[in-house]
Symmetry: C2
Subunit: 246 residues, 2 copies
Amino acid sequence: MRAGVFDSGVGGLTVVKSLIEKKIFKEIIYFGDTARVPYGVKDKNTIIRYSLEAVEFFKNFNIDILIAACNSVSAYAIEEMREVAPFKVVGVIEPGVKALQRKIDDKNAKILILGTKATISSKKYEKLLIKEGFNNLISIAPSLFVPIVEEGIFKGEILEVTMRHYFKNIENPKAVILGCTHFPLIKDEIQKYFKSAALIHSGEAIVEYIKSNYGYDKNFSKTDLKLFASENPENLKRVARLWLKG
Amino acid sequence: MRAGVFDSGVGGLTVVKSLIEKKIFKEIIYFGDTARVPYGVKDKNTIIRYSLEAVEFFKNFNIDILIAACNSVSAYAIEEMREVAPFKVVGVIEPGVKALQRKIDDKNAKILILGTKATISSKKYEKLLIKEGFNNLISIAPSLFVPIVEEGIFKGEILEVTMRHYFKNIENPKAVILGCTHFPLIKDEIQKYFKSAALIHSGEAIVEYIKSNYGYDKNFSKTDLKLFASENPENLKRVARLWLKG
């Protein structure tokens, strides 16, 4: 199978990492809209417009399935993309909720949802979780996490002070949804802060979801990955070498 | 006179604030390209393309002069904008250098240039300062300052830790160029960090530059300001009410 992975920037490579490690697809075409990143602070109509342009891009590649790695795209544009795409389109929010359900039985458990302003405003995670019976939800948009990660800071004083700023009133969640592709890169620090919480990672969630719902390739040696960016493709390739190694 | 002020987002309102306080223009038309902010992490060709689109926007308003409040635009796109604009176009970098010259006589004085990645990579401030004889220059791109300011944080622990991160190897500059429209909003904190430094602010610099080079309106009571944004104009108006008061 040939899969497309669409993200607003380089962050979706955290999803690609899971797809490659778990050997799901023989081929992955990645497109990061790096000229217009970040999407998470943009409004709904802009996110939809940019996402439909991405569908046009992927029409050139005869893909079987398009994964919207970006939570902001997943929150707002999946239905609109499906209307015009000649391939399957899947976001990361529903898979994230399924992954949470596999880890947390207690419907009263405190669930902390972290996302961009766009994702949190959409209330998409909340709606799905409430539908499944969860009733103890906290949503916050720790907006500085994205630029901190983009600055190459994955631990240390700046991140600690910033976590305290956003998390100061939140006690002992049972699970934390890492609802932005950047957040898995600081998951060790988030885990240190919320020691007993189960962390939900879009990349791991989507692997399980695709295996259950769409099938996957077997008996191949290595995923062939092609990288495209709307700006500065060299930087995307540099980050890919850094994040996808090992 | 009717002036246009162009910025990548809301930050250019710090320049508008100076223009209004000093009563330079009867009318100001502001356009913030909030759908595509930030420019400071984008590459040269993208910044030029967006800036030329802004010139097209201002052609509808019969303005006398267009001020590029954004340092990244000033660093890369002024010549290209002048080629197609039927009005005068002025950036903030040359005015900033002139303002520095008025404050600092000693050519050996240590000058710290702060800007976005785009502005710093362009070396535009450095080239102009070297041409004027200054020889002790340090340039850095404290990228987290922009999102911190956009998060509404103007002082406190996060900002202090972040300043220490970027400034730790810099001792006692005689002047600091605030080479990004966001930085004037944290100028008090930067001044606390570098107690004896003269701070160079684009808004104040452009006022003097325009008065010397282009003339200005006299004998009017209040600047008429119109605000346009490529996305979420309500937020631009909200920030304008906050920043321009008093």
